[in-house]
Amino acid sequence: MARPKTVRAPTAASLPSNLRIPSTTPSLVKSFGKLTRQALLDLVFYWLDDRNVQSFEPYLERDEAEGADDEELGPYPAERTIDDVRNAYQELQVRKGGKREVIDRILEGDWRHGITLRQLAMVDLRYMDDHPSSLRWTALELTRIDADGAQLAETDVSSYIPRIHASTFLSNIQQQISPLVKAHYYLARSNTLPLTFLRIFVTNSPYQHPRQPPETLTDASRVIHVAFPDSCPFVYTSIASSTGSKASVNAVATDARSLQRIVRDAVPKALSLPQRRYALKATSLTAKNLQALLALRGPGRSNGANGAFSIFADAVVEGSPLDPRPAYTVSPEELLNQARPGNNKNQTTEDQTESETHGSGKKTRNSEDIHIPKKRKLAIYSRFGTSGHLSSAPLDRLDVRLLDRPDGDEHDEDSDTDQTQPSLSLTFAGSDVISGIRRLAELGVVDPEKMPSWMTGEEAVSVAVVHRGQRVIKDSG
């Protein structure tokens, strides 16, 4: 950092990845402390890897010689070579212990000269990989805008999936955002899910090396995540936690909400090409679980078939055309297992459930005296299909607004009294709302035959306006 400190001109460049946050910043301990000991060690080994060590240089003895002014010795003497640093962490890897000693070693020892923004971003994304439901995500759909609204010749029926070239995309989004906010970008592939994460950290300073309190550089409310699922025209964005950031009083454009709006507006523009413009459309789906988003707005089969129709998405109705067994003699679990031969882990439990359901199915076919639970069971199967049972897209929240008159008195002519029409809002919250409703139906609290289809998750949304049991789709989306 031989940068002359007197020259500080505002620029439009992004925040550099190697901008260091002082290691003494207390919030860094908090950010690092979210990770497990093993995750921390994994990250350190990645930083110290031969290919990456240039970008994450640890503090060595020779750095000490340059800045000879620090007299007091820290608890961690500087190592001589990078190999020594590696050995130190190998030792920690072998030894059992708390994660605190690893964090201390990182912050007070080998990276005492500061943690770069890139390192912090990696810590953040690692946490997200380990805890896929740590944030709330909103699914947005990419649609194409035609210049003159003319219908193109429908020869190409593939969806509008833009191909993302990472550096081009980043420079585009930088162009879009830079006049308004200064940001640091980090693009990474998820380790567990078919997603690419973009982490954008925004500040309100126009300077390359902001002279702000270092706390703001670790402020989680200034981070916006965008996830790009593979091969589907959707984009997921995180909603910044609404912990009122202090910067919100300074300027209009720096509170979390408007920053988020700026970034959200910039994403489709950065994806657009000449003659090929994209816009983002809301899809009324917000959930904490990325798996749920991938199931409902993802590349797979289950986007347009949920609730009762999940039997089709999971292909458990009938077997392949080469299967000699009539469909009703094969249980859905078996068909599902057949489709995924590599899935042996849950075999025993699935077998157990299979034997139960199979036995009960036989009885209902044979005997005419149907117990109520059996009938209900069948009704539940026909309403929910496999959702909430074999396959699940856990929604943590379901907001429904009912426009029906509560007294059940329906007149078509009361359309002019729209203003005074009562509406009822329902909010379900929990770890998995749809399977919860399924459970309620099993217990007999909910009538599985009369309940509207939005209760089975068929609409695949987390916010819905319902009129007479059917979802009303607003024009604005």
């Binding site: 999936i161 089969r301 009938e318 000699p324 009539p326 289809s453």
Partner: protein, 324 residues
Amino acid sequence: MDTTEPPKNMEEELDSEIASIRGEIRKLQRKRRFLAASLLSSDNFHKRLQEHQSARPSSSLEAEVSPLVRAAGKHAQVNHHRVAFSATTFPFRDPSPNSENPNLLGVRIDICASNGRFTKPYYVLLQRVRGEEKRLRVHRHTIPAFISVEKLERAFLPLPAVSEEEAGENLKPWKGNANRQDLPRFVRELRRQLAVWHLRMDAVNFLRGKLGVQRRNVQSYNDGDDGVWVRDILSDNQEEIRLDANDLGIVSLSPTALDATYVRLEWEDGRVGRIKMSDNGVVERAVVIGDDGRDKSLEAVLTGGNGRVETVLDRLKQHLVPQE
């Protein structure tokens, strides 16, 4: 402690034994069901049964067996239709109590992959449009997102509201039947899209198989493993793959996205290429970039010859031989 532990162990042992035996029984039961079903639906069996029946018209055996045989025969017939026509329809009733048109028309599309197995069937469920009894619209479907069902629907199953507008704007005689719904064409086009997608995936897997490929689960990750492991986006259960060392020097061959239109190639010497596969299995375009710019000769090799994807590796080999 000493007195309680041995029985506990034994209990656990017995439990696990019982569980494994139960599993075995289930497996055998499944096998029996499978064999019985195949026997019932086999042609030979039907013939023999008919002979038997003609010899002895009324026996107790017939009453017992004939419903099973009839069901099996029906099922076999349905399967024959599915194999032969690939797209079949079936009725389905929407269980929702609020549905105005609960009777749905289901279309099932079966695609046969190169390994002789059929993929999971694809379904489209169509619903009558309210007020317009003859018009259909897509209600639910299981088509992957990169094939736009909405676009196909717009093209082949237009709704009257849209078509009225269009009719008012352009009264062109050659667009007279633009607002007619054409379900067979819709299904045909949809099936074509799905089939070419599976053919493209098969082509990628074929090329990989020719080069030799190793697979592993993502979980079985261990350090000190050299080589480039790439996540295989074509496999359902997250797998990573690596190509065997080959004399073409290709270290990775993978589609860029699930639709497998573009395939990315990577060579040992750092050259990176990308080819575009057409719906007919022809390499339409190819770009190869090395450390010193584009490798036009290799691009010509990729698109040259008969242009087939399947013979790309042979062409590369031929290209390699004269150099050395």
